[in-house]
């Protein structure tokens, strides 16, 4: 009964989304204030319907309703409760429902928080969101319904992929999806602006917080996914440049560009057309990334053939959303007036440079991700593009971004000279060069350069804060007073940029990391990475739905006892699958990382890594998201309803 209610709620949500889309666009077109006033209610209704639908699916999962196909395929009675709930979005059907739910949450948020938006703009934004949502809910209902029943009901489920049975991955999809789907709001604003035919500073001020929130979520989601790969897959790596990862990186790159160019629209009324294009592009990449790659259309052409209905529906939907918005852009963009003029060396100029480089990096990633499947499809040639390609092509473009990132915020708007900036940031540059020089003695050129750039980023990012607070020059009390008066957004930008520096340092640390694979009997000791590792014990331990083989490793440094580590290997009998439970011991400067491999002739294979600065990779991402959240909290973004520029009346 409950799954039928969930199915009904899903269909209801789809109808409400259709109504929201039609009434929003049509009402704003006809300037019908009654129709326009109905859209917020519809958006909230759609959210309630989808929330009920998701709750019904969670109910079916927690109550082990094995008459529902999706539950049979992805759940099992013995699965721990937390993973029964989080497992609802760990599969294709459930993740589409989650996607729709997050989109509905965005719509409801615009409806509730958009009280100060002009009625017509709000109706159009909600209309675009509703139309998009309707398409995806229709996809869920017709080709991947999470509530489909089977008869006769199964006695027990098949269980989910044991790799997903992990708290990190349990919360990774909702966060990542909030990032992906959140960019639907800037997209809807962009399409609404094209429909209206005008953009002004107020538009930039409305769009920026939405882009920023999505960007923060996307940053956290990517970091969480890479952290999960690091500790769960047990290969010691954190980024493999595989299509699923690239799918999240591409919208992140253009989203980062969007977050910056929206500032220019807001502050200087410039780069409007470009910002609209970025908003459309970012959401298009989110969509095509998740749906093309995750549904396996591009990854394996045969998955497409095995369920043609799904593939064709998705392609048609993508063509409609992306093609439609780009067509609208081509038709209407010339009508958007361009604003303030600026010199190449200025804050605007720096942001343009940031945008060009980020979009170039994105283009490289797109080519590297899409070329192999198209090559297979068109030429029948099987090739793959791995990490060496991406490293070779992305790094030369990333280095200038890092170099320019610290200087950009120091430049004044409109017109600037480089000399004053040099005066403010010379000490940061000096320290960075010294660090790079010192590193280059014992290291290869690239890691040394990366450490130097990282220092430059961290120090340079705070050069502006130091400059603005007159730190070290004025009395401390006066500096403190100035710091309190500093706009939060300035601090946020500095923290986010420094976070990138922290991540770069973490990535560079990989070059100092060591790993050793040993075949060990109980009692054996090994030297690796300056530590002494001793295998103390091997024993069997039982878990809720798996049995596990656990090793105890005793780690000493220079004879001083350091820690005990418990790597284990879990066997899931239901899925006939084995996963590695990595033991990690961190002190935030390095990770000790131990994996227990297979056993043969009484000896166990151990993989022992010392990963220098590895935690910094995710710490930096945390700083980036924190910086974004801080600049979101800036009073200047909240106080007062932005009022629109007056429309010039044609004579």
């Amino acid at each position: 009964m409950i799954p039928e209610l969930g199915n009904f709620a899903l269909a209801l949500g789809c109808c409400l989304a259709l109504a929201q889309g039609f009434i929003g666009i049509y009402g704003a077109w006809r300037r019908d204030s009654r129709l326009m006033a109905a859209t917020p209610g519809l958006a909230i209704g759609q959210f309630l319907a989808l929330a009920a639908s998701a709750a019904a699916l969670a109910w079916a999962a927690t109550h082990d309703d094995f008459s529902v196909l999706n539950i049979v395929q992805n759940s099992a009675a013995a699965k721990p409760l937390l993973y029964k709930i989080t497992g609802t979005w760990g599969n294709h059907e459930g993740s589409i429902l989650l996607w729709g739910l997050v989109l509905a949450i965005c719509g409801a948020a615009v409806a509730l928080a958009g009280g100060n938006l002009p009625t017509a703009l709000r109706a159009r934004v909600l209309g675009v969101l509703g139309g998009t949502s309707c398409g995806f809910l229709l996809f869920a209902l017709t080709t991947s319904n999470p509530f489909a029943r089977i008869w006769p009901p199964a006695a027990d489920g098949q269980g989910m992929n044991p790799l997903l049975q992990d708290p990190g991955l349990a919360f990774h999809p909702p966060i990542l999806y909030t990032g992906y789907v959140g960019f639907a709001v800037p997209f809807a604003f962009a399409v609404a602006a094209l429909l209206e035919g005008r953009i002004d500073a107020a538009w930039g001020r409305w769009v920026r917080p939405w882009a920023l929130v999505s960007w923060c979520f996307l940053t956290c989601g990517i970091a969480l996914g890479s952290w999960w790969a690091y500790y769960e897959l047990g290969w010691g790596g954190y980024w493999f440049w595989d299509p699923v990862e690239n799918a999240s990186l591409m919208p992140w790159l253009t989203g980062t560009a969007l977050v910056h160019s929206a500032i220019v629209v807001e502050k200087r009324e410039s780069l409007k057309i470009w910002t609209v294009l970025l908003a459309i592009g970012t959401f298009s990449l989110s969509l095509s990334g998740t749906f093309l790659v995750r549904s396996g259309i591009l990854n394996s052409v045969h998955a497409f053939a095995s369920d043609p209905a799904r593939g064709i529906f998705i392609l048609a939907l993508l063509a409609l959303v992306i093609g439609g918005s780009l067509l609208l852009f081509a038709l209407r963009a010339p009508r958007l007036a361009s604003g303030g003029i600026f010199a190449p060396i200025s804050r605007e100029g720096a942001i343009v440079l940031n945008n060009i480089l980020l979009c170039s990096i994105c283009a490289v990633v797109v080519v590297g991700t899409m070329y192999p499947p198209f090559c297979d499809l068109l030429l029948g040639e099987k090739i793959s593009v791995g990490a060496p390609f991406f490293n070779a092509a992305v790094l030369p473009l990333a280095i200038p971004v890092f170099a320019a990132m610290a200087v950009g915020p120091l430049l004044p708007w409109k017109r600037a000279r480089l000399w004053p900036v040099v005066q403010h940031a010379w000490w940061a540059a000096l320290i960075a060069v010294v660090i790079a020089g010192a590193c280059s003695i014992g290291m290869k050129i690239l890691p040394a350069l990366a450490f130097g750039l990282s220092a430059w980023l961290i120090l340079g990012s705070f050069a502006e804060v130091v400059e603005r607070t007159l730190l070290f020059r004025a009395p401390v009390a006066s500096s403190f007073r100035r710091a309190r008066g500093l706009p939060v957004a300035v601090l946020g930008a500095a923290i986010a940029h420094a976070g990138m520096g922290v991540t770069v340092a973490g990535l560079a640390g990989a070059s100092l990391s060591t790993q050793k694979i040993v075949s060990a009997k109980v009692g054996d000791s090994f030297q690796s990475g300056g530590y002494e590792w001793t295998l103390m014990r091997l024993e069997d331990v039982d878990g809720p739905n798996y049995s596990s083989r656990m090793a105890t490793i005793y780690v000493k440094q220079d004879g001083v006892p350091l820690t005990l580590m418990y790597p284990s290997r879990r066997t899931f009998p239901l899925q006939h699958q084995t996963t590695y439970d990595v033991a990690i011991s961190t002190n935030f400067l390095r990770d000790l990382y131990a994996v227990l491999g297979e056993e043969r002739d009484g000896a166990a294979v151990l993989r022992l890594h010392v990963n220098v600065l590895a935690p910094w990779i995710w710490l930096g991402a945390g700083f980036m998201a924190l910086g974004g959240a801080l600049s979101l909290a800036d009073r200047r973004l909240r106080v007062g309803a932005p009022s629109r520029a007056r429309v010039a009346v044609p004579a």
Binding site: I341, F342, I356, C359, V364, E381, K382, I383, F389, A392
Partner: protein, 153 residues
Amino acid sequence: MTRKRRRLVIVLASLAGLGSAAALTLAAFSDNLVFFMTPADIAEKNPAPGQTIRLGGMVEPGSVHHATVEGSPAATFRVTDGKAAIEVSYSGILPDLFREGQGVVAVGALAQDHSFRAQEVLAKHDEKYMPKDVADALKKRGYWKDKGGVPGS
């Protein structure tokens, strides 16, 4: 600076950015494209030693030998596609799902003696499933029966 000149500067900068991206992509493509081959492909095309290849095929039953080299585990095995076979050596932990008579993908390069040195061995599939590249390649070579999968598995 006039609007026109500013636009020119931006357009030129964008072109430079995209141009260098394209150049870098092409350069990286020519060095780092990795082709998927089966042992018979290697016998036909005879790729240069040192060129990175993704080798796919079946692990020949009875060909796996485990050894310990300098305290680290190592293994040698033969990969076949029914037409040709090639000797593969690998030092490291073989994945849990690595089995004799099962599909495997090894990333590595040919050595001077025409044996294959794998840097990475992938068998990220369950018992029923074959890596898709391998299944396609074996079908093409007629070494695949649709119902029963691979003979002898």
